[in-house]
Symmetry: C2
Subunit: 374 residues, 2 copies
C-alpha cells in the first residue's frame, strides 16, 4: 500500500524541479560567494538572483531579504535584534506562538515584559485586547503569527499592522506557515519583520529568510564575515538558497490552482468526518476560515483514540497530534490548552499539500472508522 | 582553456558522491525528524546515522556532535555558551583568528577580558606567552585555531590542550581548516570545543557541526524546538547533514593518498616560485610546516603585482589575496599585519585540493612570470 502523507504543516516533500535546481548548483557552482574571482562571482550570482526572485515574489526590495538556515534562526535574529538593538522593552504576543518565538522571547525575560493577547472562542486574536495592551505598552513590539501551525487560524496581518501603526508599535509576524501558500504583498503592510522556511512549501530544509523592512537596522545573531549585507555571517548555503527561490516561484505560479484543489480536499475531509463521527470537535476556526490546508479535530479520549496516531502510522498514514516540535506525542498540546480546548480529548492535525487526493481522504476516513469504532 | 581553482581554503567543489547522497535524500527522505510517524523516523535515521558516522571518524561519542548551519554558527554557539553559561571572564586568543571568532568575542567586550598571545617570527603561537597569560588569567577560555586560514600555520592542539589542562583552562579550537584534512582523534586531546564546516572538504555549504566535550553544558544560540538534544533549534538540514557525513567519510578514507599528492604539489609550487622569483617571500611557516595544501607568498608592490589577482582571474586562475571573508581585496590582510609581515607587498594565497595537478602549477607559474616580468 502506498503511504499517505497528511503532515504538510510539519514539512513537505521537495519539489522535483527544486531537487534539479539544487543538484545543478551542487554540481556546477561551488565558489565562495565572498571570493572575488570567477568561481566566487558565479556563486554570488546564484545567491543574488535568488534574493531578487524572492523579493519580487513578495513585492519587496532585495535589500530587505536576509538568508538564514531556516525559520527558527530568522525568528531568533529578529527578536534578538529587537531587544538588543532596538531596545524593545514591551512585547505583545500570544501563548499560541511557535516555540521558536516564545523561547526566543523567554531568553530575554529579565529585559522585556511579555504581554499576551486574548482570543475569541474560535482561537482568533481579540483585537480589542491587542489595542488595550498597546495603549498601556508604549513603543511595543507585537509578535503575532500569520497562521497558527497547529490549528491553522489565520490572522489578518493587514489589520494587525494598521493597529500597530496607530500605536507606533513594531510588528513581527511569523509567516512560516503562509509564505508560498498565499500571495502576500509585504510592501503593502505595516509589517516590520517576517520569516520564511523553505521546507514548508516543497523547498529544502536548512534554508529560510528574514524580511526586515527598509529603514530598520538590527545587528546579526551570528557574527563573523560580512555576508548578507553584514546581517548574517557564514558562507551561504547556495544550493539551499537557489532551491528555496525555485520552490517559492513554483508555489507562487501554482498558487490559485493549488489553493482550489487543497481547499476542496479540506472541505471534503470536514464533510466526511462530520458524517462519520458524531462526537468530533473541530479545533480553532478551521471550519469557516483558517489555513486552507489544515484541519485540527478531536475525539473523546478512549483506549482506542489514545493510540490512534500510532495505529494510523502503522496503517501507513502520517498525521500529527500537534506540531512536529512537540513530539513525545502524548503530552497535551500547548496551543489547545492556551485556547481552552478540551485537552482531555485526542487531537489530530491533518495538513494537505497539492500532492494529496480525495482517494487518500477516503482511505483515511475508512481507516479512522475501523480504528475508532471497531 | 580550463579554469584553474587554487582557492580551496575558501571553499571546495562538492564531491560527486556527496551530490549523489544529497540528491537521494532530497528526493526520497522528506519527513521532519521531529515527527513521530514513518516519514519522520526515516528522516531521523538519516540525521542520526550521519552523527554516528562523524563521531566515529573523529573518535568521539555521537552525543558530543551538534549539527549547525556551518562553522560560523558553531563558533558563535560555543563562544556564546562559554560567556553566558560557563561565565567565562578571561579569554586568551590570537589576533590572527578567523573573524567568526574575533567578532563573536568582541560582541561580549563589556563582559570579558580579551588577551592576545604572542607569535614567533614564523607566525607560530609562542607557548611561553600562552603560559604567562594563563598564569594571570584564572579559569580562562583559550581560543586558538588549529590551522590559520590565510597562512596555513598549524597549532599543536595536543600540546596546547596539555598547557590548558595544567592551568585548568577550557580550550576551544577552530578546526574548520583541518577537519577532513587530517585524521584527528578528538577524544585524545584536552579539547573542549571544536568546529567543522562541510564545504571545506568537498561537502555542501550550509552544514557544519560543533563538538562539545561530554560533561560540558551550554545553552543554544538558536532557541525554539528541542532539536539537536536541545542544543540547536530548527528543522535539521537533513540533505546537508547526510552530505557532510559522506564528505567526511570520503576525505578520511582518502586521507593519506590525498595528503601525499597535495604535499607534493605544495613542494613543487614552492620550488618553482623560488626558481623563478628572486624577491618572493613566503608568509607564515608554510615552507617548513603548516597546512599541506596552502602556500602564502608575496611580491614587492608594483603596478603589475597590485593587479595580479585580477589578471590571474582574467587568465582563468582563481587564487586569493587572503581569506574569502576579507573580500574587497585591496585592503591589507589583518592576519599578515598582526604577524608583522610586510603588508606593503602583494600577498597571494594558493590552496590546493586533491583535484589539482602539477600541470596546473606549471600553467600558473608561467602566467605569473608573464604578468610580473612582462
Amino acid at each position: 500500500m502506498k503511504n499517505i502523507y497528511f503532515d504538510n504543516a510539519a514539512t513537505t516533500s521537495v519539489e522535483p524541479l527544486v531537487v534539479e535546481t539544487m543538484t545543478e548548483v551542487l554540481k556546477d557552482v561551488f565558489g565562495n560567494p565572498s571570493s572575488i574571482h570567477l568561481f566566487g562571482r558565479q556563486a554570488k550570482v546564484v545567491v543574488e538572483n535568488a534574493r531578487k526572485k524572492i523579493a519580487n515574489l513578495i513585492n519587496v526590495t532585495p535589500s530587505e531579504i536576509f538568508f538564514t538556515s531556516g525559520g527558527t534562526e530568522a525568528i531568533n535574529t529578529a527578536i534578538n535584534g529587537c531587544v538588543k538593538d532596538l531596545k524593545i522593552e514591551n512585547v505583545i504576543t500570544a501563548e499560541i506562538e511557535h516555540p521558536a518565538v516564545l523561547n526566543s522571547l523567554k531568553k530575554f525575560s529579565t529585559q522585556i515584559k511579555l504581554n499576551f493577547v486574548k482570543f475569541d472562542n474560535k482561537g482568533n486574536v481579540d483585537f480589542h485586547s491587542l489595542e488595550e495592551l498597546l495603549k498601556i505598552n508604549k513603543n511595543a513590539l507585537v509578535v503575532l503569527m500569520h497562521a497558527n501551525n497547529e490549528i491553522g487560524n489565520l490572522l489578518s496581518i493587514k489589520e494587525t499592522g494598521e493597529i500597530c501603526e496607530k500605536y507606533n508599535a513594531l510588528f513581527f509576524s511569523d509567516t512560516v506557515q503562509t509564505t508560498g501558500k498565499y500571495k502576500i504583498d509585504f510592501s503593502n503592510l505595516n509589517l516590520h519583520f517576517a520569516v520564511c522556511s523553505a521546507h514548508k512549501f516543497h523547498g529544502p530544509k536548512g534554508a529560510g529568510f528574514l524580511y526586515v523592512k527598509n529603514g530598520i537596522k538590527i545587528n546579526p545573531l551570528i557574527f563573523g564575515g560580512n555576508q548578507e549585507m553584514n546581517m548574517r555571517a557564514g558562507t551561504e548555503n547556495i544550493a539551499g538558497i537557489a532551491g528555496m527561490a525555485k520552490a517559492l516561484e513554483i508555489a507562487s505560479d501554482g498558487n490559485e490552482k493549488n489553493m482550489l484543489h487543497i481547499k476542496s480536499l479540506k472541505e471534503y475531509l470536514i464533510q466526511q468526518l462530520k458524517i462519520n463521527f458524531k462526537n468530533i470537535i473541530f479545533n480553532g476556526d478551521c471550519e469557516e476560515r483558517g489555513l486552507y490546508n489544515l484541519v485540527n479535530f478531536s475525539f473523546p479520549k478512549t483506549e482506542k483514540t489514545e493510540v490512534l496516531i500510532y495505529n494510523l502510522d502503522i496503517a501507513g498514514i502520517a498525521v500529527s497530534g500537534g506540531s512536529a516540535c512537540a513530539s513525545g506525542a502524548n503530552k497535551p498540546s500547548r496551543v489547545l490548552k492556551a485556547l481552552n480546548c478540551d485537552i482531555e480529548r485526542t487531537a489530530i492535525r491533518v495538513s494537505f499539500s497539492k500532492y494529496n487526493t480525495k482517494d487518500e481522504i477516503d482511505l483515511f476516513v475508512e481507516k479512522l472508522i475501523k480504528l475508532i469504532n471497531a
